[in-house]
């Protein structure tokens, strides 16, 4: 009896330690303090003869993740507050803000409004300079555009569907580089206004889609080190629910 007790106690302690480690790793998962950015509902719209929800995402890319920003129209409730661009930002690391996780309804028409404050250069693969998978036109600073200049890309928003479920889903939009000096994170208003990008796409079936930026702004030879390898700055998930 005592032996059985000793065994049970050891096993329970072992399982307890493993669970505690699991909880610890789970908490390492970067998530913005406000959680996912749920797309704001704009009602419904008819697409290809069907009525689908119409939602909007507003996001921005900043050159330095250690500053703060206003979330005027970003939140789904419409109220404005000051949030850090990235809660654990590093100096010199750009970030997508206010969150790297977005949520949209399945099959919805998603309109994205993107304020781009960061500089940029040439891509390593010009395939990504052309918008792909969008519904309707791409508007850059209010003008219809078919391609971003290959040597002046700031960031890209490249989304791929769940492997094996929606491998056909693909969205890629590049934004132009902002040639002003917007590096000071506490500079408000910014030295130069954002490059604004607006486009729409049709969300696929339910699932966990992954997005990342394909402009190599990280360190290292391929440009994909440092910030590009750290989850949550130039990469994230798109929850299609």
């Amino acid at each position: 009896m005592k032996r059985a007790l000793a065994v049970i106690v050891t096993v329970l302690i072992g399982v307890g330690v493993i669970t505690a480690v699991g909880v610890g790793f789970r908490s390492q998962k970067y998530q913005a303090p406000d959680g996912r950015l749920v797309a704001k509902s704009l009602g419904t719209v008819v697409v290809n003869g069907k009525s689908v929800p119409h939602v909007e995402i507003q996001m921005a890319t900043w050159p330095d993740s250690t500053g703060t920003m206003q979330t005027a129209a970003f939140s789904s409730t419409g109220t404005s507050k000051t949030v850090p661009i990235h809660p654990s930002g590093n100096p010199g690391w750009p970030a997508y803000a206010p969150s790297n996780d977005f949520q949209v309804p399945a099959g919805a028409l998603v309109t994205v409004k993107w304020d781009q404050y960061d500089s940029g250069e040439a891509l390593n693969n010009n395939y990504f300079a052309t918008p792909r998978g969008i519904y309707g036109p791409l508007l850059v600073n209010g003008k219809v555009t078919t391609m971003i200049p290959e040597d002046g890309v700031g960031h890209t928003f490249t989304v791929r569907g769940e492997p094996g479920v929606d491998s056909g889903f693909f969205l890629n939009v590049a934004s132009p580089a902002n040639h002003g000096n917007n590096d000071d994170p506490n500079d408000n208003p910014k030295e130069t206004p954002a490059q604004t990008v607006e486009f729409s796409f049709i969300a696929g079936t339910k699932g966990l889609y992954a997005w990342n930026c394909e402009f190599p702004c990280g360190s290292g030879i391929g440009g994909f080190g440092a910030v590009m390898s750290a989850y949550g700055f130039m990469s994230g998930y798109l929850y299609v629910v």
């Binding site: 032996r3 493993i18 970067y30 769940e162 998930y237």
Partner: protein, 637 residues
């Protein structure tokens, strides 16, 4: 000449010198302080330079290791010798742990039995760490698109799980048993280099914080193989990883030199090479392969460190280097390394097979030939890991040839095992259970390796879960199960208590079933086409993954119950006689607990240890009673 027990010697108050104040706790504190100083100095010197974080991490972790080892007392003896104030006999007795009781397990103790026990405990801790990480991986893979872990954390866990397991499996048999048991098995009083023995252990301890630092430095995202150029790009955790390798290789090299020298120079009278137990052959051949292979590991990672820290371009293609260079150097180590893992374990399980079949080992000399054949061929097969890299396609045929050839000496292991079992007198105690499990698992692992050795098949299977299932079957199902058999076999000699068989057998069945379910699930995934090292997968792989996770939880339960059996038996188990298995090798002919110099009377060997069933073979004697201080015994030391 005093004939009292050496370990009962009363030492003077100054014996041991600096050793008196040095132990694990002190070394831990000094190591942390040293790391801190290293951090401050490198930070100050490199402030604003291009070399940045990678250099700081490298210097900090190296400072940790060096400070820790100095504070442990690893370099006391050489320094005293250099200063002309060499250790005297009393200092050496102190260093061997005389008069310190349980505290000697936390000090730089040169007694090979203490080092063996220290390795045993460290290996169990490392397996617990690696196993916990495995549970993280399997929990993440329970559903196709789990949000349990972020992809960065997942990749970091996959990497550290792999490295910790590789480290643990390399030392799991050589550490505890080649240190504790081997010298007694050959009739020696200790190992050839007792201080190097302790150094190899404490160096391994020094390697543990750097590998765990990975999780706070951003995590490495390139798997335990850390292929370049991805690893050149990785966060600073990669430097911690590479430093771990540097320290680890030093530990293994030192241990290997010790094992081989001991076996060649310190055998008892009459112990010819062909009277050695097969375990000794397994240990020395594995050490020889390790001495060949480990420097390549060191080289691969040193070049990686310089690529990252100083900006060389060994592995950076955009500057004239190549990822293939890393892959080649790495696998020149990587393939022999799995035989470094396997051979001592096979040696151990062969000992168990002979003892519990009550029969001589079948084909002893052929087995030695097989082990040598495996060792020699293992250095010629490395590029079978690179069949699909696009490197040197014309070399595919030669490497396919050598890889398939290696199945011949490996098959001899099966020949000797079933030959020993055949017509034996099978005694189904707990260690024997592991013999049968090893047989089954190693068949599956070995056969699936043949699939991978065939280039056209490998072009489908490379990088998918089939490979993962294959090496887990051979390393976990084969080597680790054989090592566990060894643990159950030598537990009474090392701890003085019998391992509780009831609990052990319960654990055994859970482990046996757990292994099959876990890895059959992964074979299925591999056939279906699931890549390895993925945090998410396509829904068609759900069944395989969920089965595999269920199996993994079962396996975890089994290992925890075995751990409980070990802890409980060690503390409160039935006291073991000196030779509970009535085995014939020398380690069972000495008393338990084993005296400091192992033998009260120098042994003279007249046959190999496989004289089961021979009517005029020397009977196993009950070990002579310990001689108490004050009595005399003829022929003592």
């Amino acid at each position: 000449m005093s004939t009292a027990l050496l370990e009962d010697t009363k030492l003077g108050p100054k014996a041991g010198g600096l050793y008196r104040h040095q132990n694990f706790g002190v070394a831990l504190v000094v190591g942390i302080i040293g790391a801190f100083i290293g951090w401050i100095v490198s930070h100050a010197l490199l402030q604003g330079s291009n070399w940045g974080t990678d250099m700081v991490v490298t210097v900090t972790l190296l400072s940790w290791a060096i400070s820790f080892l100095i504070a442990m007392g690893a370099f006391n003896a050489p320094f005293r010798w250099m200063l002309g104030h060499d250790q005297d006999h009393e200092d050496e007795l102190y260093a061997a742990g005389v008069g310190q009781g349980w505290k000697r397990y936390f000090k730089f103790c040169t007694d090979h039995k203490v080092v063996g026990t220290q390795y045993f405990v460290l290996v169990m801790i490392l397996f617990f760490v690696g196993g916990t990480l495995a549970m993280m991986i399997r929990t993440q893979l329970l559903t196709p698109h789990s949000g349990f872990l972020s992809p960065q954390t997942y990749n970091a866990i996959v990497t550290v799980h792999g490295m910790v397991m590789i480290i643990s499996t390399i030392v799991m048999v050589s550490g505890p048993f080649a240190n504790f048991i081997l010298p007694i098995m050959i009739g020696a009083k200790d190992m050839a280099f007792p201080r190097l023995n302790a150094l190899s252990f404490w160096t391994l301890v020094a390697a543990v914080p750097p590998i765990l630092s990975s999780f706070v430095l951003g995590g490495t995202d390139s798997g335990w193989t850390t292929y370049a150029p991805l690893s050149v790009q990785s966060p600073p955790a990669q430097d911690g990883f590479s430093i771990t390798i540097v320290i680890f290789v030093i530990s293994v090299t030192v241990a290997g030199i010790n094992t081989i020298t001991t076996t060649f120079t310190m055998r008892a009278q009459g112990m010819s090479m062909f009277r050695l137990p097969i375990f000794v052959w397994g240990a020395i051949i594995s050490s020889a392969v390790g001495l060949y292979a480990m420097p390549a590991f060191l080289m691969a990672h040193t070049a990686l460190i310089t690529d990252r820290v100083v900006g060389t371009s060994f592995y950076v293609p955009q500057q004239g280097g190549a990822g293939w260079l890393y892959e080649n150097i790495f696998w020149i180590m990587g393939h022999p390394e799995v035989y470094v893992i396997l051979l001592p374990a096979v040696g151990a399980i062969l000992e168990v097979t002979a003892t519990f079949s009550r029969k001589p080992l079948f084909g002893y000399k052929i087995m030695i030939g097989g082990l040598v054949g495996v060792a020699v061929l293992s250095i010629m097969v490395w590029a079978h890991h690179m069949f699909t890299t696009g490197w040197a396609p014309s070399l595919a045929d030669p490497f396919m040839l050598t890889t398939e050839l290696i199945s011949i000496p490996t098959g001899i292991i099966f020949l000797c095992m079933i030959g020993t079992l055949w017509r034996g007198s099978i005694w189904t105690r707990l260690p024997m259970y592991f013999v049968y499990l090893f047989l089954w698992n190693f068949i599956v692992g070995g056969v699936t390796g043949i699939y991978l050795s065939d280039v056209p098949a490998d072009q489908y299977f490379h990088g998918n879960m089939f490979v993962t299932a294959h090496f887990h079957y051979t390393l976990l199902g084969g080597a680790m199960i054989a090592a566990t058999g060894g643990v159950c076999y030598w537990f009474p000699k090392m701890t003085g208590r019998m391992l509780n068989e009831r609990i052990g057998k319960t654990a055994f069945w859970l482990i046996a079933i757990g292994i099959q379910v876990t890895y059959y699930g992964q074979f299925l995934e591999g056939f279906q086409g699931m890549p390895r090292r993925v945090a998410n997968y396509a829904p068609i792989f759900t069944f395989g993954n969920q089965s595999s996770t269920m199996g993994a939880y079962t396996l975890m339960l089994g290992w925890l119950i075995l751990l409980a059996a070990i802890i409980h038996s060690w503390r409160k188990g039935e006291i073991a006689p000196a030779n509970p298995w009535h085995a014939k090798s020398l380690e069972w002919q000495v008393p338990t607990p084993v005296p400091l110099e192992n033998f009260l009377v120098d042994p003279i060997v007249t046959s190999d240890p496989y004289t089961y069933g021979e009517p005029d073979a020397p009977a196993t004697q009950d070990a002579p009673a310990r001689v108490h201080a004050g009595s005399t015994q003829e022929g003592g030391h």
